[in-house]
Amino acid sequence: MSEEATTQFILPSVLITKADLSRLVREIEDLDNEFEAQKVRNQAAGKHDEGYHMPAISEGLSEFAEQNKIDLTDDHARQELRKQIKRIKEKAPILHMTFAVEADVPALRELVEYIRKEFHPQALLQVGLQPSLVGGVYMRTPNRAYDFSIRAKLAQNRNIIQQDLDMLLNAIPVVEAPPEDDMEPPADGGQG
């Protein structure tokens, strides 16, 4: 498979982070080992035409193989797949996303689907947690950072609170100081 073929890989939404791809690579390696073991056992048993027995695989690997139409029992295909996945892991753009709450998998899957659909089909996420963001997300691309957090929104709209406060202050009746004339001593003071 060439680099062009690598870019055509569709990453399922269950594969969200770089760690997921690493797990996928390990799982493929495990799968290689398993098939190699089955092959040795079959040769020992004299069953040279016996195919591989597919062991239980993860949802991520299953979806990945299904969506990219890859036959996991094909040794060459797996070998290439492993290489390409490692390549994707190294080359794919990573979005660092920090949330104010714990990120649940369904929400992350929905988000990564949107990102891969709109921005890059092989984008990966790196998830962080920062409760002080209040809400939203603080996102960092390879070149820039985007603060879509509620904290940033609040900071941007501080002037609204200031305006409200000013209006409130203007609405409070102010007791005026007595006029200067009232403070002057009487004209005949001290002469009576």
Partner: protein, 215 residues
Amino acid sequence: MSDTMIIGLLAVIIGSLLVGGGVSWILFTRMHRQAKKPVDKQEEIAKLNKAYTEMAEEDALHLFNAEFREELRNRGRLRFEKIIDENANFLKQDLDATTAKLNEYMQQQIMAKLDEEFGAYAKAMHDAQNMALTSLQKTAEEIETQRHALSEALKAEMAEREKALLKVYEENMAKIIEHYLLQALGNHFDLKSQLPYIIKEMEANKKAIMEDMRL
């Protein structure tokens, strides 16, 4: 007794005295002449002189007897009384006039003195009043100045305080609100509920994000 009578009596008395004196002078002259004579003659002369003296004394006693002396005494007493009365009247008149003048003088002096004293007192009172008034005005001016300065200082202090409070409030307002929102919202809004907002924000910055990811 009229004055003429008194003058006549006085003339008689003076005449008698002159006669007595002349007689005595003559006798003395004779006796002086006879002194050059022998001693017996001198004795005779002495006797004679003595006789004449006694005669003169007797005549004098005849002239100035008790009635006459009483009369003279009465006349003198009356005259003295009259003079005394007249003098007393004069004295009384003078005394009355003097008293009146003295009263008037005293009144004038006292009035002048009182006027002077009252004037001085009024002047002193006026001066004291002016001083008190000046002092009061000065005190009032100082109080007014101090009040003005205090008012200005208070205004400046209030403005400074208000500014500092607003600054502190503005600086901490966001933190307070964020803290409040964080505490109030907590984990009530999970990521799924925040996704529309996140996607909306990303959509708004889609172009920039795509450019970043292409690099």
